[in-house]
Amino acid sequence: MDNAGKEREAVQLMAEAEKRVKASHSFLRGLFGGNTRIEEACEMYTRAANMFKMAKNWSAAGNAFCQAAKLHMQLQSKHDSATSFVDAGNAYKKADPQEAINCLNAAIDIYTDMGRFSIAAKHHITIAEIYETELVDIEKAIAHYEQSADYYKGEESNSSANKCLLKVAAYAAQLEQYQKAIEIYEQVGANTMDNPLLKYSAKDYFFKAALCHFIVDELNAKLALEKYEEMFPAFTDSRECKLLKKLLEAHEEQNSEAYTEAVKEFDSISRLDQWLTTMLLRIKKSIQGDGEGDGDLK
């Protein structure tokens, strides 16, 4: 009930704001008075947007923020325009993901123009997340994560960049673009290897890279494993490395029982996450695939 009132009020404000904009257009465009009118209109749009927000009318709120952003742009206040676009994006996110992406892209353009790359990167991540969850367009999500990683790297925020890259790698592996995933994991692993705090997780990245190698080709995995051990001696006595060796052995003998046993032992100590489960299942399938063909043809 209260919400309905708020919405009505918001609609009124919107209409009034529009009137002001028109007035500024027709009479005193570019003059001092015109600008104050636009400023007022801007403020009204923002207020209307906030009221729509309270009424949970997200697309109307997004629209109002968008208008405000455009007016801010007219007034040459880039920063305000960008923040309004971000607000618009956040509001649209709940109703119209595609429109939200457009708004956030507009905000990113402004931010990159101003040289605020880390903020732009942050919004790239938001877009990627929308693609990931709402629109399920993983390819595009990957592209945005990559862009954001590039920006972060430019700003020397390596850990944020790594975070994005790891996302890219995980998705690439899921999409069976193993080469790309391997490259990223190796790169991140090499980057973190020398950092006193991060070197402890480097083994995870090498493990994942080796797994991707494994899915493509067993021999490659062996070579890669040797390479990693040489690069990063601490990898040798990690549980991940031992598991890999066992799996490779089992795969060589086409022994799916030994394979399962090794995986189970690993899982009993630390639980496998979903990504690892998927990858290990893919490898397991390749073992079973050779063993029998009659099952498929039934």
């Binding site: 009479f27 003059l31 001092f32 008075g33 709940k94 880390s118 969850t133 399920v136 993983i138 700003e155 925020s157 390596n158 850990s159 944020s160 975070k163 899921q174 999409l175 950092n195 006193p196 705090l197 991060l198 402890y200 997780s201 995870d204 006595d237 549980r239 799916s256 029982e257 399962t260 046993e261 995986v263 189970k264 899982d267 009993s268 100590i269 630390s270 496998l272 979903q274 990504w275 489960t277 998927t278 290990l280 299942l281 397991k284 399938k285 079973q288 695939g289 063993g291 029998e292 009659d294 099952g295 498929d296 039934k298």
Partner: protein, 468 residues
């Protein structure tokens, strides 16, 4: 031989693509029916992407695949093998409706919503069966899967867990450190901007004759980073012989609170533990009043009380077929098979000699599952299993020391990083103080300037309105 047969089963399902499903259903389902018993069905609704609408129906899970059947048409809308799942997630559609999303191999996302009895229950069960696909070898015998966890292994598990946590903490800490560095940079920029502003203001105030000094507000803003400490509590297992221990999805009374955990069959009773190995309930052997086998994958255990509500636990597990024979030996009088599980009963009842040929009867897939577990069900196997040694082997001790060493160095590194961040925070605080002071000063100066400007401005706006 037995193992080979089961492997086939996996692949046959693994290779049925989505599009052909509807046509293949008639032939396939018959085959699957016999091999693959439905674990559970839940009423729910499914989102049809092209039509953009939710269709009510039933989601049914077998031990190898997942199907959705629409209520109205009875058509199978979705059917895929569990092995093609990439990811299972809990999400909210339209930010309100709690639903489960399953990402299939070719990045097809399936939305299931309005799940009955609760989303978490369904999620846990589906995830459990998906994981078991990887973790359990169809041909493996029960001995392997039920090998009791030694103390050493458990310790290793705990240590590995804390190591993982500490690694994550280190990652976050590092990220935080980087952010502090960025803050410092940002503050430096602010300071230099303030210098410029200062210069410009002085220029504007050039005719001013009043020295500006004022009492300033001090608002030191400082945020203490929250430190996520990880603690893992656990309880040592009882000393007595563990017959079998399986992961299971546990729910009490109603199914709405299902969560993953473990069922441990002891010689003296049953223990239900949650995922952190904390004891949820212990049934003494004499106390168990009945055990109902609902499907080969689901049992419920009940203990009656006079004047109090019964204690009932429902357990669903992919490994349940291994446990049922054991339970049957232990609680022979109290176990009860419901209709779905009746065939299990019949196979159990037949003598071992007949078993070979009865494999060709109704549920061969199930029979296979039951048969190799036979030895563990017999009393001989049990007594052998009773003697689980709680010692730590040389190898485990070695691994433990290794993990401990890593933990120690990790902790030391974390400490140095924390100290560094403390210092950074100190300098950030003072720098923020300086900046607030500067901004305050400038705003006052600007106020004064605009105050002197205002009369002129008012004049100009007045003129404007006149022209209008």
């Amino acid at each position: 031989m037995v193992g080979g047969g089961r492997v086939n089963q996996g692949d046959q399902l693994g290779d049925c693509p989505d599009a052909e499903v509807v046509t293949l259903v008639a032939t396939q389902s018959r085959k699957q029916m016999s091999r693959d018993i439905c674990v559970h069905t839940w009423p729910c609704s499914y989102y049809l992407e092209p039509e953009k609408q939710w269709v009510p129906g039933e989601l049914s899970l077998t031990s190898l695949s997942l199907k959705f059947i629409a209520d109205k048409t009875g058509k199978i809308l979705v059917s895929f093998p569990l092995s093609s799942i990439i990811e299972i997630k809990k999400e909210a559609s339209h930010f309100i409706f709690r639903s489960i999303t399953i990402l299939e191999k070719d990045h097809v996302k399936h939305w299931f919503s309005s799940l009955q009895p609760s989303r978490n229950a369904v999620f846990n069960i589906i995830e459990h069966f998906w994981r078991e696909l990887l973790l359990c070898q169809p041909g493996a015998t029960v001995q392997a899967s039920s090998s009791p966890m030694t103390k050493g292994k458990e310790l290793t598990g705990l240590m590995a867990c804390s190591q993982k946590r500490l690694e994550d903490t280190a990652k976050v800490l590092h990220h935080q450190g980087e952010q502090f560095d960025n803050i410092m940079e940002g503050l430096d920029k602010i300071e230099s901007d303030l210098d410029v502003a200062d210069r410009l203001l002085t220029q504007l105030e050039s005719p001013s004759w009043w020295p500006f000094s004022s009492k300033l507000w001090k608002t030191p803003s400082e945020t203490k980073p929250a430190e996520g400490a990880s603690a893992s509590g656990s309880e040592a297992l009882g000393k007595e012989g563990i017959v079998i221990k399986i992961p299971a999805v546990i729910s009490q009374r109603t199914e709405s609170h299902a969560k993953p955990g473990k069922l441990i069959v002891l010689v003296s009773g049953l223990e239900v533990r949650d995922s952190d190995s904390l004891l949820m309930h212990r049934f003494e052997r004499e106390d168990v009043d009945d055990i109902k086998v609902r499907t080969p994958y689901e049992v419920s255990i009940r203990q009656r009380f006079i004047g109090k509500p019964d204690i009932t636990y429902h357990l669903i597990s992919a490994k349940m077929p291994e446990v049922i024979p054991i339970l049957e030996v232990q609680f022979s009088k109290k176990i009860e098979f419901l209709e779905d599980a009746l065939m299990l009963r019949s196979t159990r009842a037949s003598s071992p000699a007949e078993k070979g040929c009865s494999t060709w009867h109704a549920a061969p897939g199930l029979m296979d599952r039951v048969r190799p577990r036979e030895p563990s069900g017999s009393p001989g196997g049990q007594s052998q299993l009773q003697m689980s040694e709680p010692f730590i082997s040389e190898e485990e001790a070695h691994e433990l020391t290794q993990i401990l060493r890593k933990l120690k160095s990790l902790a030391l590194d974390t400490e140095t990083e924390l100290e560094r961040q403390d210092e950074a925070l100190d300098s950030i605080t003072s720098s923020v103080d300086r900046a607030t002071l500067g901004i305050d000063k400038h705003s006052r100066r600007m106020e004064r300037l605009t105050l002197s400007e205002q009369p002129r401005e008012e004049l100009s706006t007045g003129r404007h309105s006149e022209t209008l």
